[in-house]
């Protein structure tokens, strides 16, 4: 079932500090969303409001028209996975998973067991004694196997090593295909995840500065590759996001679309054009001096 999420002029303040300001968005559901923001931008705070960990100070956040906060039916449908340490858990991973599964009506224990094997999660060690990477894997297993209509992973993969992250990305995509639902992945490590996102939300200093389809964003700029002099000549006067030189070859990423004439010109100059990466766009949009 599609779960439509709607935030309406939502702000959050605590301890006299404005954490989120006037955030509005609508997520149709059944997509993988990327929530991007620098450290301290407000990603976790925004997701905490969505997961009913905290009530918004002003405005509202609703799922299918119903307020999330203290709504038993809605809260059961949302899982918020964070990379929290489980230093007090004396039980073993299978027991811990079994204990949390009773709260999730769609929990698939067989899938959880398959994931335990795939992540090579030790089943005979106390949860508190698992390495950070293995605790992250445990969180990921619970997040995936709960099959909640709204599944949120808030940088839950930071503790994992590269191969575990690879497994995680693969499992998110595969399980999403088989059981479509709303998956929100928040991260500041964009490069390795950006191909997963269908829509992207960028938050900066507590404000939502962008909500767009990932494809549209990638097309909002152009990468130009070719001989150094040719590239320099071509990008003159354009909004350059990034430049990189390797031997006699240069790559420049520019923000904004090219006209048909400019494309022809690039072709004539033997320059290769391509899309820009979300990472570059993100860095550009959230630069400190950019107000």
């Amino acid at each position: 079932m599609t779960q439509k999420i709607k935030a309406d002029k939502m702000s959050l303040k605590f301890q006299n500090k404005q954490v989120l300001t006037n955030i509005s968005f609508e997520l149709e559901g059944n997509k993988i969303y990327g929530l991007l923001g620098r450290n301290g931008a407000g990603k976790t705070s925004l997701l905490s409001v969505l997961a009913a960990f905290v009530k918004p100070t002003i405005g509202s956040i609703k799922v299918d028209g119903e307020h999330v906060f203290e709504n038993a039916q809605v809260m059961e449908q949302i899982i918020f996975i964070r990379d929290v340490k489980l230093d007090d858990e004396t039980g073993k991973a299978p027991t811990y998973i079994k204990d949390v599964s009773i709260f999730r009506p769609n929990f698939d224990m067989d899938y959880a067991e398959r994931l335990i094997k795939r992540f090579k999660l030790p089943t005979d060690t106390e949860v508190s004694k698992l390495s950070r990477g293995m605790q992250s894997a445990l969180h990921a297993i619970i997040g995936l196997a709960s099959r909640c209509p709204i599944t949120i992973f808030d940088e839950a993969y930071l503790g994992m090593d590269a191969s575990a992250r690879e497994i995680f990305y693969e499992e998110v995509l595969n399980d999403f295909m088989e059981h479509p639902r709303t998956i929100i992945l928040s991260t500041h490590l964009i490069s390795e995840m950006e191909s997963m996102f269908e829509e992207v939300l960028i938050i900066d200093q507590g404000e939502l500065i962008l909500h767009e389809e990932a494809e549209t964003l990638r097309e909002s700029g152009v990468s130009v590759t070719g001989a150094v002099e040719q590239v320099d000549y071509f990008v003159q006067g354009k909004h350059i996001l990034k430049e990189q030189v390797l031997g006699g070859t240069k790559l420049a990423m520019i923000y904004g679309q090219l006209s048909e004439q400019e494309r022809e010109e690039a072709k004539a100059m033997q320059l290769t054009l391509g899309p820009i990466t979300l990472q570059e766009l993100f860095i550009h949009l959230t630069k400190e001096d950019k107000q």
């Binding site: 605590f14 905490s48 009913a52 960990f53 905290v54 009530k55 906060f69 203290e70 709504n71 038993a72 809260m75 059961e76 449908q77 949302i78 899982i79 918020f80 964070r82 929290v84 007090d88 204990d99 949390v100 009773i102 709260f103 999730r104 909640c148």
Partner: protein, 240 residues
């Protein structure tokens, strides 16, 4: 049948804290036997506690040891029932309301099962004494067990109340919650005829009242504290 979320919380908390309680009872029994053995061989009575309501050889029953030490044990359980538990349950999609209702349920289960365990242990103690041919003059009114139930609930909820105060507000206001708790505990002890050996308590002149009035006052105190906890936790932000 799908269980109500608050019942799931209640059973889950009963399971966790009940297992702590079994450890506590085990240690209590060992200490009690130890004190009885020391008393038997040396003649020096090792009093683990002193209690109201029981008339007779008061230092010599598991009932006294249980009544006195259980207050501290359940106070600690209450203190531990806030931060970690509310975070765990809300993280698992449970509302604060269901966490609250579930915890109240578990306190009820704990108080009844603890009292039952103590009554059984007392029965066993009496049986062993009869076998050993030791006689004692001990009268335990039914109200003693009622008092255990009330004490367990009250000390548990005041612990929870302090923890909720610290969780919801700052440290300084948390101190106020401790002060309120001290007052509540003085009243509870006073009305049931227990003396608290500190000067501040003596200044307050709390008198022992009739048993039924004590039951009523205890119930009012418990309901008041539980209601305050609901106000404190109703919209509380879950901390990282």
């Amino acid at each position: 049948m799908k269980k109500n979320k608050s019942t799931v919380v209640g059973l889950s908390m009963f399971h966790t804290i009940g297992s702590w309680m079994l450890w506590y009872i085990g240690i209590l029994v060992v200490l009690h036997i130890g004190s009885a053995v020391v008393t038997y061989y040396t003649g020096d009575e090792v009093k683990l506690s002193h209690s109201a309501l029981i008339q007779g050889e008061v230092g010599w029953s598991i009932l006294n040891s249980a009544l006195t030490s259980s207050k501290v044990f359940f106070l600690i359980c209450g203190l531990l029932s806030m931060g970690g538990f509310i975070k765990y349950f809300v993280s698992n999609g449970v509302t604060r309301r269901d966490y609250y209702k579930g915890t109240v349920q578990s306190i009820l289960y704990l108080s009844l099962s603890f009292t039952a365990a103590v009554a059984i242990l007392y029965g066993l103690e009496s049986l062993i004494m009869n076998i050993l041919g030791l006689e004692r003059n001990l009268h335990v009114p039914i109200m003693f067990y009622v008092k255990i139930v009330f004490d367990v609930i009250l000390f548990y909820v005041v612990g929870w109340f302090i923890a909720a105060g610290f969780y919801r507000l700052n440290v300084w206001l948390g101190m106020v919650f401790i002060a309120i708790t001290v007052l509540i505990v003085f009243i509870q002890s006073g009305i049931w005829g227990e003396s608290v050996p500190i000067p501040l308590y003596k200044l307050m002149n709390i008198y022992e009242v009739s048993t039924w009035l004590a039951v009523l006052i205890s119930a009012i105190l418990i309901v008041g504290v539980i209601a305050a906890i609901r106000l404190l936790t109703k919209e509380v932000r879950i901390k990282d």
